[in-house]
């Protein structure tokens, strides 16, 4: 069977790639100021964080509340490596690459370690362990001595040319998309989503749940670590108070708003939220800055209720963005036999067979049951 080339499988590479090229050109012309470059760096970091958390939450189906903890490890260790190397090697591209690799790998090791309890724990219990992990990491770095990681003052990291840092950020986004999307669309990705839908069934079909859980946690942590290194380069100083529980929640909001189990959704939500955040930060000052948090909270609650409330099921099926768009373009109806791995329907996959619903289902007398002959044997 020959694989059909489908543009929608590549749309995110095309959009992100085009954005990278456009911004690079704009930058070389000199249109972008420092604040725009900073904004683009932040957007790239948010996309990396949201997509990597989305891998755990949306595809593996486990809730991680410690994503900022992995980022913290990456930021500190990558930042430290960078400042050590910049003394001997200079503060060049190679230093950045090594820092990214070391930061990412050390976070990945932590991710695998936190993935170990994940084998015994599930759902809410795992969520609290990841939360605890994030807090432990924060406490350890906060109490580090001044020579090692700077303690409460934070770690000073080398500066990098602002003109190219955001381009590197977007290139990392592209590489990450390639890795994660190819993983999800492979046999392994289907194994991962099957663990989400039913771990017992997945185990029964011979899927190595242990291996996949560790793999997903480590991979997700790896990219969070890389985002941390980029963050340390972008901010010149790493302070662990930034990587608290609220930051993990912020990333989770991006994933949920974008739609769990959707890579493209995470990208859109991450860019949008980061953009709004940085733009609003200059408008709303002081206590008014909280207005945007209220807005996030309300949007988060409403979106989750809209997507998950059992009572809204009929409403949801009638009015959703996808049917609206397909109506708009007057496309033919979707073929249900077509497997679309990328947009696995999180809300429609029942985690358990609802026995109540099955048992209480009345047999309705319809025309076909009344006249059994009509539909007909030959």
């Amino acid at each position: 069977m020959k694989k059909k080339f489908k543009i929608k499988h590549f749309i995110n590479y095309i959009v992100v790639g085009a954005a990278t090229i456009i911004f690079t050109i704009l930058n070389s012309v000199g249109v972008l100021g420092l604040s725009e470059q900073f904004l683009l760096e932040k957007i790239a970091i948010s996309i990396i964080l949201a997509v990597s958390l989305g891998l755990v939450v949306g595809f593996l189906g486990e809730l991680s509340l410690g994503h900022a903890g992995f980022m913290c490890i990456g930021a500190y260790i990558g930042g430290k490596v960078a400042s050590l190397l910049s003394e001997s090697m200079g503060n060049g591209f190679l230093t950045l690459i090594i820092a990214l690799a070391v930061g990412g790998l050390s976070a990945a090791v932590a991710g695998a370690i936190i993935g170990l309890p994940a084998l015994r724990l599930k759902g809410d219990y795992l969520a609290i362990v990841t939360l605890a992990f994030g807090e432990i990491v924060k406490t350890l770095f906060l109490n580090s001595s001044e020579e090692t990681f700077g303690g409460p003052i934070g770690l000073e990291t080398p500066r990098y040319d602002r003109n190219s840092l955001f381009i590197i950020g977007f290139v990392v986004v592209l590489i990450m998309l390639a890795v994660i999307q190819n993983l999800i669309r492979s046999k392994h990705g289907r194994a991962i989503t099957s663990i989400r839908d039913s771990e017992i069934a997945a185990r029964a079909t011979g899927i190595n749940v242990t291996k996949y859980k560790l793999l997903v946690f480590a991979l997700s942590a790896f990219f969070a670590g890389i985002a941390g290194v980029l963050f340390s380069y972008s901010n010149y100083r790493v302070q662990c108070t930034k990587f608290d529980y609220n930051y993990s929640i912020e990333i989770l909001v991006m994933v949920v708003l974008g739609g769990m189990g959707s890579v493209n959704g995470s990208i859109i939500a991450a860019s949008l939220i980061t953009f709004l955040q940085i733009q609003l930060a200059s408008i709303l000052t002081g206590d008014l800055a909280v207005l945007q948090n209220i807005f996030y909270a309300l949007v988060l609650i409403l979106i989750v209720i809209y997507n998950n409330a059992p009572a809204l099921k009929g409403f949801r099926e009638k009015h959703n963005l996808k049917s609206f768009i397909s109506k708009l373009f007057k496309k033919k109806k979707e073929d249900p036999s077509e497997v679309r791995d990328d947009e696995a329907k999180w809300d429609r996959v029942p985690t358990k067979i609802n026995m109540d619903e099955l048992l209480s289902m009345d047999i309705k007398v319809t025309e076909s049951t009344m006249k059994p002959d009509k539909g007909g044997k030959e």
Binding site: V57, G61, L63, P117, R120, L121, G123, D124, Y125, A127, I128, V129, L131, A132, F133, E135, I136, T139, L140, L142, N143, I200, A201, Y245, I249, L252, V256, M260, D287, L288, V290, L291, N293, I294, Y296, A297, L298, L300, I301, V304, I305, N307, N308, A309, P310, A311, L312, D347, T351, D356
Partner: protein
């Protein structure tokens, strides 16, 4: 001598943690959800105390009002955010609870500002027993929280509502068939949880009279840890976990070398206990059926 004082302080902090943990554990047992916003009910209670102690100067009245308003917010939170999601995936409910927590914190920050406010409910002073100087608030906290826990246990064991709560936590569908109104029981659970949180906010303010919008998040996370250590869903477990965590925290804080790492130690204990016993010390192991 120091040891006795530290131990007493640990017990009293443990009592407060146990009260909050009871709220977490009861809601988990009955509604099968982690109410992340529970800690923020403490914060609401704190601000109500701040406003009414400032206005009237009468601590008892303020405490009653705080309990009442906390219960009101507890129920409205349940009705508005959690009820529509009954029967949805646990992850969805958990994320909504996080949203509610975020919402309450931000609302408090808009109304009262981010800067901490100073509230003195009452100055209880200390009493001297021989060479021991004991702060009165820790005795009051310990005694009141133990009394509340005994009351709650009796309520659950001997009243019709209490037994209905046990029934719902064991099997929701069967309880419904026996004529128990599950929705009402869940509401009652949120009422009790919020009441306990309000009492906890009083004790917290007696100990350290400062309140800020994130006031509830630390005790919330700590008590949640306590509930999970004890075995979430189990009422004696929450009490045990609360006292255990309180004692560990106070003792760890009393040693200068390890005091900065207290949080890390507590969370490490949580992780280790969960690795050894995945459902906590007193948690019931449920066999998973396909």
């Amino acid at each position: 001598m120091d040891f006795i004082i530290t131990f007493l302080n640990g017990l009293s902090l443990g009592g407060v943690y146990a009260l909050i943990a009871l709220g977490y554990t009861m809601v988990y047992g009955i509604a099968k959800m982690l109410n992340f916003a529970h800690g923020d009910i403490i914060m609401v209670g704190g601000y109500v105390l701040f406003v009414f102690v400032g206005l009237t100067g009468e601590p008892i009245l303020a405490i009653i009002l705080a309990a009442f308003l906390c219960m009101l917010i507890g129920i409205s939170m349940e009705k508005a955010a959690y009820k529509p999601l009954r029967g949805a995936s646990p992850l969805a409910v958990l994320i909504t609870a996080i949203g509610v927590s975020y919402f309450l914190q931000s609302l408090a920050q808009i109304i009262f500002g981010a800067a901490p406010k100073f509230v003195v409910i009452a100055d209880l002073g200390t009493i001297t027993l021989g060479s021991l100087v004991i702060p009165v608030y820790s005795i009051v906290t310990l005694v009141v929280s133990i009394l509340i826990m005994i009351g709650l246990s009796l309520f659950i064991k001997f009243t019709k509502t209490g037994r209905a709560m046990i029934a719902v936590s064991e099997d929701k569908a069967a309880a419904q068939i026996m004529g128990i109104n599950v929705n009402n029981i869940i509401t009652v659970t949120f009422l009790i949880g919020s009441f306990l949180a309000a009492i906890a906010s009083v004790f917290y303010l007696l100990k350290a009279p400062n309140i800020s919008p994130t006031f509830g998040s630390k005790p919330g996370i700590k008590a949640f840890t306590a509930a999970v250590i004890g075995g979430i869903g189990s009422i004696p477990g929450a009490m045990l976990g609360g006292f255990l965590l309180g004692i560990v925290e106070v003792f760890s804080n009393s040693v200068p070398q390890i005091a900065p790492y207290t949080d890390a130690i507590e969370f490490l204990i949580l992780i280790i206990i969960l690795l050894v016993r995945p459902t906590g010390i007193l948690g019931k192991k449920r066999r998973e059926k396909v």
